[in-house]
Symmetry: C2
Subunit: 140 residues, 2 copies
């Protein structure tokens, strides 16, 4: 786990991770959230809506933003203040592994907070979502 | 599960759910995401940062936005396009159950998309996060 202090955070500093999304993760996300929507659980329904496979929950792929901030950028002293996500393409299990990459684009000295611009890509390098996060640094 | 068609979506239409957050959910979220940040797993560390309890992952409480759209608003024909979340207060296990409530505030006929304004509150009625989601309706 990284342990960046606020003074270590510079514009352009980056971090990221690669994740293998599995059916078990999808099943567990379904069980935890109660989101039983058939787009995520029923292949025939997903096909009837024009998708070739069941769609992985967007909020599951977004869950790794927690890891991006909490383990990598800044790591140990992280507290997420704000998250903005734009979903650009559906994610399928066959798109796995996905990569979650972020970079510091703004630093707010008053709030000891910085802004990460992030992209989530599938194994083909297609951007599936992108956005920004504001993250506080609790290094006092 | 609701099954609203795009033509059923009106400004002011609401939906929501109440969720009991458990230690098991937190442990499972940790395992899936790999976010081993001690703010969420180590009481002494959380106390050293000024919190009375371990902090529940913000992206775990946000996961129920998937359920809000996929089961309730609009339900079956849901596809989330965009999510914007502002975290206002940390969530602790003792804050549970939390409520996730949304209301339609804008409708886009061109994209067959609508905007939900949502609030997540703890059991005391304190707002812990709020934001907006843009959701598409796949009813064709």
């Amino acid at each position: 786990m990284n342990d960046y202090k606020f003074s270590d955070i510079k514009i352009g500093l980056g971090g990221g991770l690669s994740v293998n999304i599995t059916q078990e993760m999808v099943d567990t996300f379904c069980k935890i959230t109660g989101d039983i929507n058939p787009l995520h659980t029923d292949l025939e329904f997903a096909k009837s809506k024009g998708f070739q496979e069941k769609v992985v929950y967007g909020m599951l792929t977004s869950s790794f933003l927690s890891t991006l901030a909490g383990v990598y950028l800044p790591g140990k002293n992280s507290l997420i203040h704000e998250v903005n996500i734009l979903f650009k393409k559906p994610v399928f299990l066959s798109d796995s592994p996905i990569s979650i990459e972020g970079k510091v684009i703004e630093i707010n000295e008053i709030f000891k907070q910085f802004t990460i611009k992030f992209e989530i890509k599938n194994k083909n390098g297609d951007k599936v979502s992108r956005g920004t996060m504001k993250v506080g640094v609790l290094d006092e």
